[in-house]
Amino acid sequence: MAQLSNGHLLNAIQDKFGNAILGAEEPNGLLTLNINPEKLLELVRFLYNHEEFRFQFLTDICGAHFPDQKGAELASIYHLHSLENNMRIRIKCFLSADHPFVDSLTPVFSAANWQERETFDFYGIIFNGHPNLKRILNVDEMDYHPLRKEYPLEDQTRTDKNDSYFGR
């Protein structure tokens, strides 16, 4: 089978989704799309069901926080893998911190379940249609989303630490 090229894939997606694609680049040869969050589920379904592309393996979901991008502070990032073509694609949805809603991929991939819960736990991104969106790694009582950049790494309850030893 001929190797599927990024250009061909991008053309097919652009034909179908047009202006929902907000940007496309290829860092290290991996096609990276920035798409309108409202079209995410539709795009993933398209890639999943397409007879040639067959992106039927969800590698990874993760979040990211870009505090400097006003109005698009949060990102939900997906890596899909087409095992038959041995090709990966990265899809990014940028969301505003005030309105962090994106569709859940659980109707397509069972694997999305916990990964979305993790992303919710870390970044507070709300996945519409997720069957059980609650914290997974942190305690339920936690009232913030710890991986956002404004929250500190260190344990704030620690009493034995003298900052002067650490040059702070």
Partner: protein, 187 residues
Amino acid sequence: MGKISKPMSSPIITQAPPGLQGEGFFATSLDKAVGLARANSIWPLPFATSCCGIEFMATMAANYDMARFGSERLSFSPRQADLLMVMGTIAKKMGPVVRQVYLQMAEPRWVIAVGACASSGGIFDTYSVLQGIDKVVPVDVYVPGCPPRPEQILDGITKIQELVKNESLRRRNSPEYQALMASYGIQ
């Protein structure tokens, strides 16, 4: 008949406490006799959470063979355990569980914190990790290392054995012990 100064010779593996010995008898204080028995039959409860747990498996296995110290009988039920071995990172989510397990153990009970994480949080000075299990339960012996080698874990066990041998049977009634328990809010 007189006081013996050197330990009894073989076949007894462990050192006998000082006592009076004669034809067909050996007399020592009850504390010492019980301490001797306890020290060589510690039932550990392995509370293995992460990397140190794998080193504990190596300690249990044939090469390092913890059975040599009388501790091969793991007691997964806290009720029958003498020694709580906390091995690995304890997250804040896990902290109450450690405490619960400790509370379920019957006196006398000892705790050993194996590895940097259990002792102090280790490299994980983060929002989610308990900075040392001594925040929730009293600890008798700390074993450093990330993870400690099996030899170090065994050394920790022998340190516990020393404690067990030399502690009063009435430890739980001593004011110091009660003050310690009270400082952790344990009655």
